[in-house]
């Protein structure tokens, strides 16, 4: 039976039984919906006007940033085309609500109110207004389970926004709402308050979404690796409104713009992705970072700016 489950033969059974459990979730969620409804109904006119005003200002700011972003995106595209890299096209999002959390105190999973009917798929990334939250773990007909980035079984490939140092962030095993970066060598350049963004390696999470902020770096010369702790930016414990990201299409840029660079780039990209995914050889990974060609650095800088800006409009 357990072997069955391990190899996924029972996925279909779970899916069908999911129909039977939907009403339970629905009823369990009623109190929350009622309280939201009450909040909506009994809100004063002045409050609404104030909120409207605030939103208008935010929208203006977001639009201004969007204008900047567009020019940066096109600039970035041009540089990438020169450098023979792949480009991400922004994907669609689907808004969802968290309707429950896992009753098991040892796993960090949440249930969202979108399922197979809405096109949710396993491995889909979940965001809130501030950063990445996790990935879809199991899809039921009308609901799905999302594994949060703070679960101790979950590892997300990240990079430091400031300098592009790569690392793997794992859910902390001792603190409830924390991440720890694993296999960080003593010499890697990481500091407290550095922003960690998703690196897009492992091909599960889209690139450049903010993930966490480093809160402490402790390097003991006697140990192999530094102890780096980070705080997730997404409000994992308190948010209700979240977004699911749909496939960000990867479009390869014309391969024969600069023929000389093609083999180099292709050669360097592939192994990095592999290592990031396996997660065992971060040391080798960091070596790759150091040996990156100079041409890579220029778009990296632009990239960072884009990602900073990118995070803002999504916020609104």
């Amino acid at each position: 039976m357990f072997a069955d489950n391990r190899f996924g033969y029972l996925q279909q059974v779970r899916f069908v039984l999911g129909y039977a459990t939907t009403p339970v979730y629905w009823v369990a969620d009623i109190p929350t919906r009622v309280s939201f409804w009450i909040d909506d109904v009994f809100v004063s006119r002045t409050d609404l006007l104030e909120e409207n005003e605030g939103l208008r200002v935010e929208l203006l700011e977001a639009q201004r940033e969007l204008q900047l972003l567009e020019s940066l995106t096109s600039e970035n595209n041009r540089l990438r085309a020169l450098n023979e890299a792949t480009e991400f096209i922004g994907g669609e999002i689907l808004s969802a609500e968290i309707i429950n959390i896992s009753p098991d105190p040892y796993s960090k999973r949440v249930l969202i109110n979108k399922g197979a009917r809405d096109g949710v798929f396993i491995g889909q990334a979940l965001l809130d207004a501030n950063g990445l939250m996790g990935q879809v773990d199991e899809v039921l007909p009308f609901t799905s389970w999302v594994l949060l980035i703070t679960d101790s079984h979950h590892v997300i490939p990240v990079e430091v926004n400031r300098n592009g140092e790569r690392a793997l962030a794992r859910g902390s095993r001792d603190a409830a709402n924390q991440l720890e970066l694993v296999f960080v060598t003593q010499t890697q350049d990481m500091r407290a308050n550095d922003l960690l963004v998703s690196s897009g390696m492992g091909q599960v999470y889209p690139k450049n979404y903010p993930v966490a902020e480093i809160i402490s770096v402790y390097s003991d010369p006697g140990q192999d690796f530094a102890i780096v702790k980070a705080r997730p930016l997404a409000q994992l414990a308190s948010t209700r409104h979240v977004m699911l990201i749909f496939a960000e299409e990867e479009v390869a840029v014309e391969p024969n713009l600069i023929p000389d660079l093609v083999p180099d780039a292709a050669f360097e990209e592939a192994p990095v992705v592999d290592r990031g995914e396996v997660g065992g050889s971060e040391v080798a990974d960091s070596e790759v970072v150091e040996s990156d060609s100079v041409a890579e650095i220029v778009p990296q800088v632009i990239d960072d700016q884009v990602s900073q800006l990118e995070s803002e409009p999504i916020d609104q």
Binding site: F2, D4, L17, A20, T21, V24, S102, P103, D137, E138
Partner: protein
Amino acid sequence: MPVRAHSIWVIFLSFFIAYLLAIVPFPEWAMNYRPEWVPMVLIYWVMALPYRVGIGSAWAAGLLLDILEGSILGLNATALVIVAYVTLSLHLRLRMFSTLQQSGLVLALIGLNLILCNWLQIVTGQSVASNLMFLMAALTSAIIWPSLFQLLRQIRRGFDVH
């Protein structure tokens, strides 16, 4: 005939409410203290109506709980089947017990259920058990048992379930 239809309806409803209580979100610190509603309701029905609710029902109830909690399929089912079996073999004695003695036995049964679940989770690599705090749920269950027992008994007699 209507009585029979009633009875099934009441049992299903009690399980439905137990499921609700089992998945209602709890604050982080209280997670370990959440009473095990489904096993308790199961123990009651097995004790009161052993010819109607037995090991098969325990299996079905456990599978549903697995889906609800998103745990590995068969985890709660296995644990509940064992709990149902023990209750079934003790049900005559259990009816004679005083409330305190019943609570003691519920403590043991829920504890067994929790240990089985935890053990199966560790074996299948689903959980990192750091301490024995998860057993606190057995204690809260035992404390709640007397009132739950009275409530379910009133309901059973009121609706004449048998």
